[in-house]
């Protein structure tokens, strides 16, 4: 090994809420030799630009802003003496856990880790990925970029705004831009339902009389230098624009909130296999990827709606990494988890179930493929129905959960678990 290589037990990539929670949990579980690498100059990740409140209701039972939520973990990590190296970008990760990073302070660094937790978060889908026709002027921003400009840099990206997509950041920015004196003309959503949280639709659009145009999309963009107008049209059931339904909005700004994509370029370098549905790594119930000792959590694993669940999941991943480092893995039998009818992207994708002493259950997280009312979430193996639980509302905008108890896990061992959304209760 080169003398320039530093050995370390656990390396965590990303000091957002996922990376911090994972680091805190691993340290509490006794991992002493660890570090967190963060490319930005500050810890806290995307929470730093989310200055609105509503964070922490589940985890802390109080309503915090993004920076307040982040600060709790930042403080705890500091109290636990966890080294967090900011301004440090990871350039590559190999399958044998060699991590190369670069920073202005220390230059190129190479780490040989025993375990890695991937917590790189996600990125926004850009305009280009949607192939929206029209010109390419300035004034088209992803909602998160606009949020950074307004909340971090203190600049307005524009004054007359149309928002495409009804993801949560887009909804939040509709309100934020309005409060800052901009006119938000409409929020345009391709699907017949919003992909954002219901509370955001009420508090960010309805409270400000901003129309939400469902089953609509942007079909043309005008403006040579700066955006001058967009044309919006209704779409049919196949999401194709319906001629004759066009409305033109004169505006200087188009914000895009059209989906988040887990950032997994590093994971792929390390040989981590991704799920085509979540676009994050396929993991087991310990958040371990197909590469032994490489774990994943947070929005890098699958895009969450609430940071509270990111923290919960990442705590589990941190503990799992600690257990791995301590060599504590009882013999197990692997089971596959399958998306059944109405279900997309269940995490974890597989269950490693020990033969005895199952002490903890497993939360399955997934998204419905459309809106369902008064339907049942059903968990079954080839042989039996384990659970069939009524839900008043299931919508793609809100991640759904189903909990496997230790008793159920005992019955799944070695079998295939299918998650279904069914109209009737299954027995």
């Amino acid at each position: 090994m080169s003398e320039m290589t530093k050995t370390i037990d656990l390396l965590i990539i990303g000091a957002g809420p996922a990376g911090l929670a994972a680091a805190i949990s691993a340290k509490r579980e006794g991992v002493m030799d660890l570090a967190v690498l963060e490319r930005e100059d500050e810890q806290g990740g995307i929470l730093n630009q989310c200055i609105h409140n509503g964070f922490g209701l589940h985890r802390f039972k109080e309503e915090l802003t993004g920076p307040e939520y982040a600060l709790r973990d930042i403080k705890e990590a500091r109290d636990l003496n966890i080294p967090v190296l900011c301004g440090t970008t990871v350039l590559s990760v190999t399958r044998d856990k060699k991590v190369t990073a670069v920073s202005r302070e220390r230059g190129i660094e190479v780490f040989q880790a025993k375990a890695i937790i991937l917590a790189m978060g996600c990125r926004e889908r850009p305009r280009g990925a949607l192939a929206i026709p029209g010109s390419r002027p300035s004034g088209i921003f992803s909602a998160g970029t606009a949020q950074k400009l307004v909340n971090m840099a203190g600049f307005m990206p524009g004054r007359r705004v149309v928002i495409l997509g009804s993801g949560d950041i887009g909804l939040i920015m509709a309100r934020r831009m309005t409060l800052q004196g901009a006119k938000v003309l409409a929020c345009v959503e391709l699907m017949p339902y919003s992909s954002g949280l219901n509370r955001n639709i009420v508090q960010c659009l309805q409270d400000y009389d901003i129309p939400l145009l469902l089953s609509h999309t942007v079909v043309d963009i005008e403006g040579r230098d700066r955006l001058s107008a967009v044309t919006v049209a209704q779409v049919d059931d196949n999401r194709r624009p319906i001629p004759g339904t066009e409305q033109r909005f004169e505006c200087d700004t188009l914000l895009l909130s059209v989906g988040l994509i887990p950032e997994n370029e590093l994971s792929l370098q390390a040989g981590v296999r991704l799920s085509p549905l979540t676009q994050g790594p396929a993991v087991n119930n310990l958040f371990e990827t197909n590469v032994r000792g490489i774990f994943a959590c947070g929005n890098e694993l699958h895009v969450h709606d609430l940071v509270d669940y990111v923290s919960r999941e990442s705590m589990q991943a941190g503990k799992a990494a600690a257990d791995y480092l301590h060599g504590e893995k009882a013999p197990f039998l692997r089971s596959q988890v399958k998306d059944g009818q109405g279900v997309r992207g269940t995490v974890p994708q597989r269950l490693d179930i020990p033969y005895e002493n199952i002490t903890e259950g497993v939360e399955l997280m997934f998204r419905p493929d459309k809106v369902y009312q008064n339907h049942f979430v059903t968990l079954r193996t080839e042989d039996e129905v384990l659970l069939s639980q009524k839900r008043m509302i299931l919508t793609p905008g809100e991640m759904a959960e189903a909990k496997l108890t230790p008793a159920m896990l005992d019955k799944v061992r070695g079998k295939t678990l299918t998650v279904d959304i069914t109209k009737e209760k299954q027995t």
């Binding site: 350039l91 190129i108 280009g128 029209g134 010109s135 390419r136 300035s138």
Partner: protein, 482 residues
């Protein structure tokens, strides 16, 4: 008074300026845009055509083959990435055999070596992602790749380093000769020159017709493209064409020098030479035709769509040399559509020498040979990276995570002789913002660096010059731009 004013800072204008810099004399390049490479040279296929296609006996064919042969050495001297992966021209029907045979013969006449006709099995062995319904293909091993804007920027920097003036954001509206010298009316005043060279791309006919007895018409021909994320391994090693049509070489599927995959272009004749919009119809058309070559195209990999303008002269050949029927000292390189990029090194050298000769410009004994561009951080190995960091700690800060562009590279792009002054200018010089997130993360930081380097407030930073403002004042202020 200048010895020479070149109108148009595209790849042709910059190649000529690069050549003229090797002579003693005062040279200026003017362009209406705020940066070089803002017209056809910023958005085309980036193919260095071997020259099998251009009709034998035309200027197009001669300069294409000559330029393509010069390209590697030129790129090496400038430090611009050049690749020569070869190309295939696919035929799907038995009747395409005659067309491909004719192309093969044309290639022989044009002096393009190494071509051969190959059949399905061999094609699929060479390019497993090609549609298995392919029947035969013309294999063109001499076909190459270059980024058109990287080449243009490097040519411009080298010219500027040798004293060529770049007057950007300057629109030439009229050309006249007063019996002694040329006068160029611009929106920024009058320029005087002993010689002018019209390389105004899609707008070249207006100036040409002001001074020539032979009227021409340039048709702006728009081409729309899809750009896909880079993949390892590459989906295609070579540029894949289909049997050409009257409107051009058709839709190609090609890797770029940076490992992205490019699909396109369309060929639409439009009236406004600045209208680089994409259309639903055009993009659909590209996809439809690209699927014939590559049925497995995955739209999830699309990172952007764009369109570019080619300057098509109605008679179809390049017009290069002295302007017919004009007073002495008027030169032009117009109607430079595909394979204009491939021909650019040859056009630059020939026309540059010609103009210098006619003005009796002596050799520039103080000529500074181009400094090859530094290797991008993303392409360095670990040792090179350590060394780069030791020399400049700004190499330690990644600005663009998708393309791994460092702050050192962004700052240098702004400090270059013809430096970036806008977000797009930085993007084309460094690739910051060109990756899969399309600047979502890095654009704020790049704006900050631009503001710092240019000594301007953040609000004055634009996407591409002109009125392409990005910020409308601070959050506590009123609107800046109403």
């Amino acid at each position: 008074m200048y010895d020479v004013v070149v109108i148009g800072a595209g790849v042709i204008g910059c190649a000529i300026a690069h050549r003229l810099a090797q002579y003693q004399g005062s040279v200026a390049v003017v362009d209406r845009a705020n940066d070089v490479s803002e017209g056809a040279s910023k958005a085309n296929s980036g193919i260095v055509h071997a020259g099998y296609d251009a009709k034998a006996g035309t200027e197009k064919a001669r300069l294409n083959v000559k330029g393509a042969r010069m390209m590697r050495a030129l790129c090496d001297s400038l430090g611009v990435p050049y690749g020569q992966p070869g190309a295939l021209v696919l035929g799907f029907h038995e009747e395409d055999r005659a067309t491909l045979e004719a192309l093969y013969q044309n290639a022989l006449v044009n002096g393009v070596t190494g071509c051969r006709i190959i059949e399905r099995d061999e094609i699929l062995k060479m390019e497993p992602n090609v549609n298995p319904e392919v029947l035969l293909a013309l294999d063109v091993p001499a076909s190459g790749l270059v980024s058109p804007y990287e080449l243009t920027h490097a040519l411009a920097d080298s010219a500027a380093e040798n004293g060529v003036d770049f007057k950007l954001g300057t629109t030439v509206t009229a050309l006249s000769h007063n019996g002694d010298h040329w006068q160029l009316m611009t929106d920024k005043g009058i320029l005087k020159a002993r010689a002018v060279i019209n390389c105004a791309g899609a707008f070249a006919d207006v100036l040409h017709n002001q001074i020539s007895t032979r009227k021409v018409r340039i048709i702006a021909r728009r081409g729309q493209y899809y750009l896909l994320d880079h993949t390892v391994p590459l989906l295609f090693q070579r540029t894949i064409f289909q049997v050409p049509t009257k409107m051009g070489k058709g839709v190609l599927v090609s890797p770029t020098t940076h490992g992205n995959l490019l699909l396109g272009p369309t060929a639409e004749d439009i009236t406004d030479g600045l209208d680089t919009a994409t259309t639903a119809l055009g993009l659909h058309d590209v996809l439809d035709k690209a699927k014939l070559t590559y049925p497995g195209v995955n739209l999830r990999q699309v990172i952007t769509t764009f369109s570019g303008i080619r300057a098509h002269e109605q008679d179809g050949d390049f017009l290069i040399g002295a302007v017919e029927g004009a007073p002495e000292g008027a030169f032009e390189a117009i109607g430079i559509e595909s394979p204009g990029l491939s021909a650019a090194p040859a056009i630059g050298e020939e026309l540059g020498d010609w103009v210098a000769y006619s003005l009796k410009m002596p050799r520039n004994t103080n000529y500074i040979a181009p400094t090859p561009l530094a290797k991008p951080f993303s392409g360095m190995n670990e040792t090179e990276r350590r060394l780069a960091y030791e020399n400049d700690p700004d190499y330690g800060r990644i600005v663009c995570r998708c393309e791994q562009v460092t702050e050192a590279e962004v700052r240098r792009a702004i400090r270059n002789p013809v430096g970036a002054t806008s977000l797009d200018g930085v993007k084309r010089r460094t690739r910051a913002g060109m990756g899969r997130c399309q600047g979502g993360f890095c654009s704020t930081r790049v704006m900050e660096i631009l503001a710092e380097e240019l000594g301007q407030p953040m609000q004055h930073i634009t996407k591409q010059g002109g009125k392409s403002w990005l910020l409308d004042g601070g959050i506590a202020e009123g609107a800046d731009h109403e």
